[in-house]
Symmetry: C2
Subunit: 328 residues, 2 copies
């Protein structure tokens, strides 16, 4: 299927050129277009995205996860300012599928990342609100491509770890960072949620408050990791203080080192290819489900079928076959 | 949707009556019919299942998970013999989606559970082989209903924990048991795989080999659980020796106690209703995916689309929309 087949909508050349020139207004407008659920907007967004794709992909994509209060924003601000000081252009995005529920959104709070937000070389965008995790993450992934096309060479995607959002963010980043507090049991929570499996780098924040606790946390996480992953697959564990901006350079060096090794081994590109495919399949699955639920015969039959299954009058397997048949 | 609408195939009355009378031949034949992938067999199986459903549901369903070598078979044999001694009829099933890959199957080894297999009041069936996890688990779930209709009042479903098989087995059992060895790090592996979240009861086997290690393992698991789940939600941790059949009665008392409490609170029936619904949705999702993959336009377009997405020439989101459109 050649890409040009898809351009059923005209490409908005003013927006396209604006994005490629790195204009903030064009960027914001494009991302808003991507987030729109209107069918004509979706068509225009798809056409635009398709035209931007060849210009994307040149950034380092950093995923960052941690529970609320761990200090992600403080750290991202410190890291962003450090990277801008080194001549980089830094975009910060977020995936927070809960933002439609609580009305707020991570990164939505204007008082956060105040200094970084004032920088010309920074672009901060809160999580798209509403919709499924797949939808929210999809909009973020598309925004990332747009920002890359606009010349941002480092994209940081933040998530608070609601449901499966870590998996989604890890699936769009070149390196996934897990931020922890030096609390007992924190490593167990991360192991439980399967985040440790995704992490390329683990950071223990607030080292300054209690250096001993931070050291213990690092040791505990280290032994947990060696038990879980065995020898060989080493995950760096770094302590730092986001508030004092201590450890930021060491963090970036570790991350750059990790990416350099992956590039050398060809793993960097392989991971990106695999991510794009996995992402496509996840969206296909979600799309199939949404279409099924929207099917008129299914919607009509569903209440009775659900009651019969719940009441033990219809085997689940028979009900599934029946619903699949009428959904055609 | 009335259940009778589904009976497009004639019900095999000889089989139906044979199953209800608890005849082993009829049972084996019915389960083989359920496991068949032939379309006419599937239709007959569905009709039969539908007729058997009102007679099912009266057993206690016990899920049991543990890594290979933990002693599950030894324990299930000891438990089965103990239960038969108390007048119960015990069926043992398995979910092992890997059985098609390695040619073998858990419970397939004839030398295992030799004594239990000789009992009239026991029925042992290896894992259905081949197919997806959903398919394998679905066949097992249906076999369970058949065995219940045949008067088996305790059904034990074993899994070795390949991929998501624990979730599938926990989703068809009234109580899910995790069997562990007294090894350092074992609790971390279980936490990592999310099994601890599913477990209603944790058993540390081979207590006789090293009582101190077993005690340490119980203490470690206990503190890990309290960190993960907080106070209140207590999960019993029992030590036992499957080989010596020690601790079997204590295990069963704990399990019966747990189920009695749930029945009293109304949680037992609520869990079953919720399980049936979740199972139906899982099968619907799998069915949608299989149908999508079998769609002719999708199969024709897929190689080019995959190459374009992998090569960074087509955004994953655009590719997904396109594939969904042509799959209609």
């Amino acid at each position: 299927m050649p890409a040009q087949d898809l351009e059923v909508a005209e490409i908005d050349n003013a927006l396209l050129e604006g994005v490629l020139a790195g204009q903030r207004r064009a960027l914001a407008k494009t991302i808003t277009l991507l987030e729109s659920t209107r069918a004509d907007h979706r068509l225009r967004a798809r056409a635009l995205l398709n035209a931007l794709l060849p210009h994307s992909g040149r950034a380092v994509r950093v995923g960052m996860s941690g529970v609320p209060g761990v200090g992600k924003s403080t750290f991202i601000e410190a890291l962003g300012l450090f990277l801008i000081g080194k001549g980089h252009r830094v975009a910060v995005l977020a995936v927070d599928p809960s933002s439609s529920l609580n009305g707020g959104s991570i990164l939505g709070d204007k008082t956060r990342m105040e200094k970084l937000a004032c920088e010309d070389a920074a672009f901060i965008r809160p999580s798209p609100s509403g919709g499924t995790l797949g939808g929210v993450a999809s909009r973020t992934r598309e925004a990332m491509l747009v920002l890359e096309a606009a010349g941002f060479d480092i994209v940081i995607v933040e998530t608070v770890g609601v449901g499966q959002s870590e998996t989604a963010v890890a699936g769009m980043s070149d390196a996934f960072v897990l931020m922890q507090l030096p609390n007992a049991g924190d490593e167990l929570q991360a192991i439980k949620k399967g985040i440790v499996e995704l992490a390329d780098l683990i950071v223990i924040n607030k080292e300054d408050l209690d250096p001993d606790a931070a050291m213990r946390a690092r040791a505990q996480m280290g032994s947990a990791l060696s038990l879980l992953r065995g020898h060989g697959a080493e995950v760096p564990i770094l302590g730092l203080s986001a508030l004092r901006a201590e450890g930021v350079e060491a963090f970036w060096m570790a991350l750059e080192g990790l990416i350099a090794v992956r590039r050398e081994k060809g793993e960097f590109e392989a991971r990106r290819r695999q991510q794009a495919l996995a992402w496509m399949w996840a969206l296909v699955q979600e799309g199939l489900q949404l279409r099924f639920q929207a099917s008129e015969p299914v919607r009509l039959a569903l209440p009775e079928v659900l009651a019969a299954v719940e009441g033990g009058k219809l085997p689940a397997s028979v009900a599934a076959v029946r619903l699949l048949e009428i959904s055609r």
